[in-house]
């Protein structure tokens, strides 16, 4: 009987590669969990940081969107010399005539101090100042009244006051159920409204506001506005911004400063990004350490399981089969870690964002990128141990 001279090479099916690679972790569950933990922490940090920063940013961006990015403020200042450092008295009317402006309001300084009552020593105003405004101010700033009401055309001539949110807090004014007064100049003025805060005009939160009509009648108000708030049509911000100085003060346009308050909030969102980058860096370091942990565990596994390696070689495994087995095992460890990490990160984001009343946003790139990163790290971490296992001569391995 002629023998088969071309005996077939040994062969390991693809799904058996996975099965064999999983056999090690399956047999040592505690160690598997512990060695996957490092990767979990890294991935959880990445997913959690990205999820939380996106969620918190979404809260801020929602706020910005609600307040509108189409608000511009016009103030005096900037240029040198030529003018008198004030906006013209006609500034509000001039600005309101620009076709792309949907609404405009102005604030005037009032030369008077305000106190909670007459017994407060002079000068201790608590950094609350008095300003005057037209009746459209709350509308233009998209502000809200917390209690009482703001001035309207019919009440603007009464000597009444509306307090900003910070001013109200400092004065201890929580509601207007009983008649409430503040002491302005040397008169008591009734408070008819409490405002909620203006994120786009925080100065007004620390102000007591009179109507412009009453302020000029009863107090010493400036004729020129200190600030003009301008709401423009969406999409016309840049062009309006360009024409605002010339329209406000045709003689000295260079002395007019135009700014966009929502820029400050967007800058705040960007500042959060810097912090996010820092945490991402920490997450990456945790991931690296996790990868080293897996490499370490795999090197130990190769030493401990010399007998198994020798047995498998005796059963017909080639060097490539052994290499694939340990590489697969390392990737399985890191994928388990990755899945755990994504789960932890998502849950952390969910819990914290919910507690902060943020919209929950889990960036998919973070979750998928985290998993892909885990696979890559596992493959790299497993490479050296797998090569070592494959190079081990079977006779030496069996001497275990």
């Amino acid at each position: 009987m002629a023998s088969n001279d071309q005996s077939p090479a040994s062969k390991l099916r693809l799904n058996d590669v996975v099965r064999v690679g999983a056999s090690g972790p399956r047999a040592r569950k505690t160690r598997t969990a512990l060695s996957a933990l490092g990767i979990s922490i890294g991935i959880a940090a990445l997913v959690g940081v990205l999820g939380l920063s996106e969620s918190s940013k979404s809260a801020l961006l929602d706020e910005i969107a609600a307040l509108g990015t189409n608000l511009l403020t016009v103030e005096a200042g900037g240029g040198i010399g030529a003018g008198d450092g004030e906006l013209p008295d006609t500034a509000l009317a001039s600005v309101a005539r620009i076709p792309t402006v949907t609404s405009a309001s102005a604030v005037w300084d009032v030369d008077a101090d305000v106190y909670r009552n007459e017994f407060i020593p002079e000068g201790e105003t608590g950094a609350i100042n008095v300003v005057a405004s037209d009746v459209d101010l709350v509308h233009t700033l998209r502000g809200e009244v917390a209690a009482g009401r703001f001035f309207d055309e019919n009440t603007a001539h009464y000597p009444t006051a509306v307090v900003g949110s910070v001013a109200a807090e400092r004065y201890g004014i929580r509601d207007l159920n009983t008649p409430t007064y503040v002491f302005i100049g040397d008169e008591y003025v009734e408070v008819v409204g409490i405002l909620k805060e203006f994120p786009l005009a925080a100065d007004l939160d620390r102000s007591v506001i009179l109507s412009q009509q009453a302020a000029t009648t009863f107090f010493d108000a400036d004729d020129s506005p200190s600030t003009v708030f301008v709401r423009v049509l969406d999409g016309t911000i840049d062009e309006t911004r360009d024409v605002l100085p010339g329209n406000t003060d045709p003689e000295n346009p260079e002395e007019v400063t135009v700014s966009r308050p929502s820029d400050a909030l967007e800058a705040q969102a960007a500042a959060d990004d810097a912090l996010t980058t820092l945490f991402l860096g920490l997450g990456a370091v945790a991931l690296l350490v996790g990868g080293i942990g897996i490499a370490n565990v795999m090197v130990i596994a190769v030493i401990e399981r010399r007998g198994e390696i020798g047995l498998r070689r005796a059963l017909g495994a080639t060097q490539a089969h052994i290499r694939r087995q340990f590489l697969t095992e390392a990737v399985i460890l890191s994928v388990l870690g990755g899945i755990g990490g994504v789960a932890i990160g998502v849950v952390a984001t969910l819990v914290y964002a919910t507690s902060q009343d943020w919209r929950v946003i889990i960036p998919q790139e973070a979750a998928l990128g985290g998993l892909a990163g885990a696979i890559a790290i596992g493959a790299i971490a497993g490479l050296y141990p797998a090569m070592r296992a494959a190079k081990l001569p079977p006779t030496e391995a069996l001497r275990a």
Binding site: M1, A2, S10, D16, G310, L311, R313, G316, T318
Partner: protein, 250 residues
């Protein structure tokens, strides 16, 4: 009587149907060093299908090296190793691994069962590197376990089995792919005397069913019970009782 003269006397003899399962011709194995260590010195040995052979030698006699060379786990420095008529010289590691996967079964003193795997899974591993589908591996593993009398221990893991049972699982793993021969390296070395008797009885039973088995042992009592004994000393075969069917020379 030396192996060489034994082989010479086999040629053209009365039983032409005898076919070698394993044949070593003038095998030398040297380990590098200064001076080089010669672990096997011009060893020739032929083991036919259906034989039960003991290879006996003290530790350091070269019997472990002989086992490694016979099992193709190590390549000889010189000489020819033929497994079931296939010359292994010059073949790639991959091809030699394929020969091991199909032609050779191993039983070790330390059992080498994988922890956390059931008896069936451990035995099925004997078919793993032939690319056989899992369902067929399992079916054949169950058959092999029944053959060694462990049909009632299929799903037990190694730590739920006694030493003797573990070694029987290992024997089933060595048989499951119907190899040309089984190499058993000190198969009773880790067993108590009762388990030793059981495992040796199993080996004799399997031989009676036609399995070719080579038992490597230092234990002359165990060797004495087997039909053919090859004695190794200082890297050479110093005695070979020969094929029991051969008439003693006059």
């Amino acid at each position: 009587m030396t192996a060489a003269t034994m082989n010479d006397s086999n040629h053209g003899l009365a039983r032409p149907q005898r076919r070698p399962a394993l044949e070593l011709r003038r095998v030398v194995k040297e380990y590098q060093g200064d001076p080089p260590v010669r672990a096997l010195n011009d060893v020739s040995l032929r083991i036919d299908h259906g034989e039960l052979v003991a290879i006996v030698g003290a530790s350091g006699s070269g019997k472990s090296t002989l086992l490694n060379v016979m099992g193709t786990l190590d390549r000889p420095t010189h000489g020819i190793v033929e497994i079931d008529g296939v010359d292994t010289a010059g073949r790639s590691d991959n091809a030699v691994a394929g020969i091991r996967a199909r032609k050779i079964g191993f039983v070790f003193q330390q059992f080498f069962l994988l922890p956390g795997m059931s008896a069936v899974e451990n035995v099925a591993n004997g078919l793993l590197y032939q690319g056989i589908a899992p369902s067929e591996r399992r079916a054949r593993a169950i058959d092999a376990l029944r053959r060694v009398g462990l049909g009632h221990r299929l799903e037990h893991t190694p730590n739920q089995l006694s030493g003797g049972e573990r070694q029987r699982v290992a024997v089933a793993r060595a048989l499951v792919h119907h190899p040309a021969f089984v190499l058993a390296d000190e198969p009773t070395g880790n067993l108590d005397s009762r388990s030793t008797d059981a495992v040796m009885q199993l080996i004799r039973d399997l031989h009676a069913e036609g399995t070719t088995i080579v038992v490597i042992t230092h234990d002359t009592d165990i060797a004495a019970e087997l039909p053919r004994r090859v004695t190794v000393h200082d890297g050479s075969i110093i005695a070979d009782s020969g094929h029991p069917d051969d008439a003693p020379e006059i």
